[in-house]
Symmetry: C2
Subunit: 216 residues, 2 copies
């Protein structure tokens, strides 16, 4: 399989965690989104939407959208499972994941920051405040559910790692990258810490990617 990715893409990070956990080897095709590699004719043929990630399977199927990709991987490579066996559990895990993927992440991606800068003429501190605001709103939503719902265990849903943990880990990484105050969200941070103990997740971290900047 080929994964089209960029070190800092948070959606690619989610997919990379799932691939590593399932022991699926992929060829990484790195696009430098800052240089506009996603707009080449070559990549446009892979993904006309010109965003990452895209995953191309060995039989030539191209998959889009990180949550859809992860569910496909979970269905075709069921071990270890990333969704609970029961419908209630799956609904809970998906809804936690969607707080990240459908509420927080879409608001902070480069195209939004570009629009704020170039169309709305917002300065850098205002753009940073926007990012921190929406990341924090989603962290608060996650924290509220994680602390209130009895299903929370060692991980977000009991003691087995799920899709929800991948999204929570990604959310905490985003919050750290953008210097959010994460102290008010100890349940989310605890899950992040727990996940980072797993090599499959730790080596999927954006800063561990070959195209990441070497010094921070």
């Amino acid at each position: 399989m080929k994964l089209y990715c960029y070190w800092r893409s948070q959606a690619a990070f989610r997919v990379r965690m799932a691939l590593n956990l399932k022991g699926i080897e992929v060829e990484n095709v790195i696009l430098d989104l800052m240089k506009g590699d996603q707009f080449t004719d070559e990549y446009r043929k892979v993904n006309p939407q010109m965003v990452v990630p895209a995953l191309v399977t060995d039989d030539g199927l191209t998959l889009y959208q990180s949550l859809a990709i992860i569910e496909y991987l979970d269905e075709t490579h069921p071990n270890p499972p990333l969704l609970p066996a029961d419908a209630r559990g799956r609904a809970r895990v998906r809804s936690l994941a969607q707080i990240v993927a459908c509420e927080a992440h879409p608001l902070i991606v480069p195209r939004i920051r570009n629009y704020l800068e170039h169309e709305l003429k917002q300065d850098e501190p205002t753009r940073m405040k926007w990012i921190q605001h929406w990341l924090t709103v989603a962290l608060a939503a996650l924290e509220g559910r994680l602390t209130r719902e009895p299903e929370t265990g060692r991980y977000a849903h009991g003691d087995k790692l799920t899709l929800a943990d991948l999204c929570i880990t990604q959310q905490v990484v985003s919050a750290k990258i953008f210097n959010c105050d994460i102290k008010p969200y100890p349940a989310a941070v605890r899950i992040f810490d727990e996940c980072m103990k797993l090599d499959a997740i730790a080596r999927a971290h954006p800063l561990k990617q070959p195209d990441a900047p070497k010094h921070h």
Copy 2:
């Protein structure tokens, strides 16, 4: 079951279509989001995130996030199915749905429009341009895939209605509400027209809800 909803909520609209298609009767609990009904202590106990929709099942399970709710309904009430039987098909349908739910819709919800107005002091035409811009970007993404991918049929994925059609229908309704030019997206509009022929979908339309304004 109880569905907490508001006539104009596009996420509630998606869930309502699924409920109608599956013939599931629910009690609608209408919150007037413009009056702040979502912030009452009573609703906060149902959904601490204070957003709609939330679906409470007869055995007291509360479900959040429209796509997670629809997948739960599909798993527990499998007829008619809203996802294809094969993993490839499910991946395609979910990824089309996520263009709407994870890319377009999060950018135009009231909290974003409020932030643009009150925090960023953007005037009404600028806010409208923002909404139209992101709705149109997503419509273009859908159109590109619907016209390019051979799986597109009478509906978005072959000739059977799926979750993708519910999201495309919702997206076209949003685009119409906000006066987007939808002429460049005939494939998406054709699917919307096809879906609106179904009574289960037509009567789920926001303007058909009891709390919708009577005259337009």
